[in-house]
């Protein structure tokens, strides 16, 4: 199994930490991981993205141009990375802010109103975990328990009271993607 993922959105939406959490969870499960962030001028006010690769084998190039999955959080990233998902691939996107999704018919596209759902959960910062949950429901590359395990290691102890909220967000995402139809 090798899964090549692009996660992209505005800085501050938790794009980089989604990739890191996913990476850490895969490592917990014994897989190889590379996580390659954009760190250029676009980080300062514009878009942020990270390429995350998970594999049962050793990973050669951390830089790739086409992806199995895109987790997309803003319109510019949809326009940029929509065409770069492999045929038969997957896009999970934040549909509260993205109005024009890719119109490709050769990939699966799921609209997840994550920001709205996060609002209802009274924590707007949790939208990224809702999207991650949705993605993992469609492609269970790592277990939800491994994600929580990863968060335990990544988050300082003073934030551990938020673990439950994160679990609920992941479960919310899983629930949402089951209720929306693709494309």
């Amino acid at each position: 199994m090798t899964e090549e993922i692009i996660i992209a959105g505005f800085g501050g939406q938790g794009v980089l930490s989604m990739g890191q959490t996913l990476g850490y969870a895969s490592m917990v499960e014994g897989k190889s991981v590379t996580w390659m962030p954009s760190y250029g001028p676009e980080m300062r006010g514009g878009t942020a993205n990270c390429i995350t690769i998970l594999s049962d084998e050793e990973i050669s190039s951390p830089i790739i141009s086409v992806f199995d999955t895109g987790i997309i959080l803003n319109q510019p990233s949809m326009d940029k990375f929509g065409p770069k998902v492999k045929k038969g691939g997957l896009i999970v996107y934040e549909s509260t802010t993205i109005l024009h999704a890719s119109d490709r018919k050769d990939i699966e596209i799921y609209a997840i109103p994550a920001a709205e759902a996060a609002n209802q959960m009274k924590n707007t910062k949790i939208a990224n975990m809702i999207l991650l949950g949705a993605y993992l429901e469609r492609k269970p590359v790592v277990g939800i328990d491994s994600i929580i395990e990863a968060l335990k290691k990544v988050l300082p102890e003073r934030y551990h009271h938020l673990l439950e909220l994160n679990r609920n967000a992941l479960l919310k995402g899983q629930e949402l993607i089951r209720s929306v139809s693709k494309n």
Partner: protein, 352 residues
Amino acid sequence: MEQDIRLMKGNEAMAEAAIQAGIDAYFGYPITPQSEVPEYLSREMPSRGGVFLQAESEVASINMVYGAAGAGARVMTSSSSPGYSLMQEGVSYIACAQLPCLLVNVNRGGPGLGTIQPSQGDYFQATKGGGHGDYRLIVLAPSSVQEMADFVFLGFELAEKYRTPVLMLSDGAIGQMMEKVVFNHKPLPKTEKPWATTGKKEGKHRSIITSLFIQPEVMEKVNIELNKKYAEISKNEVRLEEIHTEDAEYIIVAYGLSARISHKTVELARAKGIKAGLVRPITLYPYPYDRIGELANKAKKMMTMELNAGQMVEDVRLAVNGKIPVGHYGRLGGIIPSPEEVLENFEKFIKE
């Protein structure tokens, strides 16, 4: 025993390894894309031992390294291209004074202040001098986060064995990306440094650290001594990795990040029926001339892939010595090509 496995950035892995390798001191000045190194060390060293000092400039940092190394400390600094350029005078002095230390350049795009994106434009500077005078550095080129950690240990081992500065030449991508890294390194015991300036006690000889030898006869002796050492290093310390070279007709030579990208290119080429292989020099000095020359007896063509306008390709040409055509593909300015883009140009080169 549970293994110490972490998910870390290359820069952080290097900093953690430095502490585990027992550095006595780090002197540096922040610059993107390597600022995680001073950030990490400034946080960790106060409680885990050793001196962390943010100097007023790179010129000051390298001269503090010079002083501390002269006094026998295990010491390092790190920077990125423009900052590393500022250090060159000090590097030349340290090489002449024959002091062990670890230098790190997390290469970004240049010339000038350039860009903060990854580049391999400092190959010439790293391997052909950098500072003035007749000296060499051992140059290690990590291509993974694991090697960012491993080569700190290797770097100090070689530096102290040969009493010479060692340079780790990384790049912004390897520094910024996260991968799994295992910390299971053998501890590096402190080595005897009878030449260090630790104070002349009763019955102890005077140690003098200098790079000034004003009489030509004395200077020449120092030059000859240095070159004996470089010959010894060339004989013993060449390191490289080969992938699919057994039957390779077309070989890509690449180091660092480029080697990772080219590895995938080679896999893609093999899937299309092209007998492709990869040579990854791990030491850029000493360079694996002999092995590349040997491979040129069987291969039909070689191409370097570098994030520069063609620098290491000159060393490959020296190694191949006209036996087969040698080409180069690279992107500049901090642009990183995809494995597919490299393949397209590799195929073009094969058909030429």
